[in-house]
């Protein structure tokens, strides 16, 4: 059967425990109705479909499921990953300092060309802020990656962050494809239009 999508990207969420990674991806068990079988065993990954420039993109998004507590995120987890969201908590200095360790871990275990993005989560908690936005921006510049402050709780920038990462992976993939097969006609892809049907990525139950 013919594929019904143009691209498939595997994305990972990486960062210290408690920075809100799970909240970025999963609603999880706070809802009254969800004291069920599923909340007991937990969710491993999700498949999401988005559209960028009329291309259908499947995202397979993985959380570390607590592995990060032991600092033993293994090569197996990184295998095939094309994009990584590095997440820290703007109210936890330590989680920001640890981003450097996570980047080292990624360099040791993930593919060299994996697309990375830095997220300062919990930006709704401005009164408890320990890490300024400028420091986040500066670190991202240092590593040559994109940066956004997000709030999974207040639905700020989460969806935008995923669309940005997906769009960057797509651009990289298309560039590589063009290098391998130069286009015969004048058919160029423009990365101008970013859209999605639902605001699925910004949902969180911890409200």
């Amino acid at each position: 059967m013919a594929k019904t999508y143009d691209y498939l990207f595997k994305l990972l969420l990486i960062g210290d425990s408690g920075v809100g990674k799970t909240c970025i991806l999963f609603r999880f068990s706070e809802d009254a109705f969800n004291t069920t079988f599923i909340s007991t065993i937990g969710i491993d990954f999700k498949i999401r479909t988005i559209e960028l420039d009329n291309k259908k993109i499947k995202l397979q998004i993985w959380d570390t499921a607590g592995q990060e507590r032991f600092r033993t995120i293994t090569t197996a987890y990184y295998r095939g990953a094309m994009g990584i969201m590095l997440v820290y908590d703007i109210t936890q200095e330590k989680s920001f300092e640890n981003i450097k360790n996570w980047i080292r871990n990624i360099e040791e275990n993930a593919a060299a060309d994996v697309e990375k993005m830095l997220l300062g989560n919990k930006c709704e908690l401005n009164d408890k802020r320990q890490v300024s936005k400028e420091r986040g921006e500066q670190l991202a510049i240092e590593y040559g990656i994109k940066f956004m402050e997000t709030s999974a709780k207040a639905s700020i920038n989460v969806e935008e962050a995923f669309l940005t990462l997906a769009s960057d992976i797509k651009a990289k993939t298309e560039k590589r494809m063009e290098a391998n097969n130069p286009p015969k006609g004048g058919h160029q892809l423009k990365l101008t239009e970013i859209r999605t049907k639902d605001s699925w990525l910004s949902r969180c139950s911890l409200l």
Binding site: I41, I47, R48
Partner: protein
């Protein structure tokens, strides 16, 4: 949920005639014609467990009618639970209610239970 008496009208040339959605939040799970009708008897945990039930006394029901999805990437939006006895359970990617079916690790197939979803294009 979809009533068993309505299953027959959801099938067209062995495929799902319409889109398949979450019965609670209407999230689009599977587009029309992406699933193949399959019958088998499988015990699947209930979506709501009794309050006094323990992990070793899981409330299940036997389900018989499924949409077989060979490639998990055929789904539009879906969540996969952690593995239990060689299977992952399927849940709504948006509201996370489920199981709405299961994924068999050995065969890599996914089975979406007709009874636990709704069939509607919009």
């Amino acid at each position: 949920m979809t009533d068993e008496s309505n299953f027959a009208e959801q099938i067209l040339n062995d495929k799902n005639k319409t889109n398949v959605r979450c019965q609670f939040c209407n999230s689009l799970m599977l587009k029309a014609k992406e699933g193949t009708y399959a019958e088998q008897e499988i015990d699947v945990p209930l979506m709501v467990q009794k309050k006094d039930s323990k992990a070793d006394a899981l409330n299940t029901e036997a389900l018989h009618h499924f949409w077989l999805v060979e490639d998990m990437m055929s789904f539009e939006n879906i969540g996969f639970s952690h593995t239990v006895d060689g299977r992952k359970f399927l849940v709504c990617a948006d509201c996370e209610r489920g199981p709405v079916g299961y994924h068999e690790l050995a065969s890599k197939r996914c089975y979406l239970a007709l009874k636990r979803v709704v069939h509607a294009d919009a």
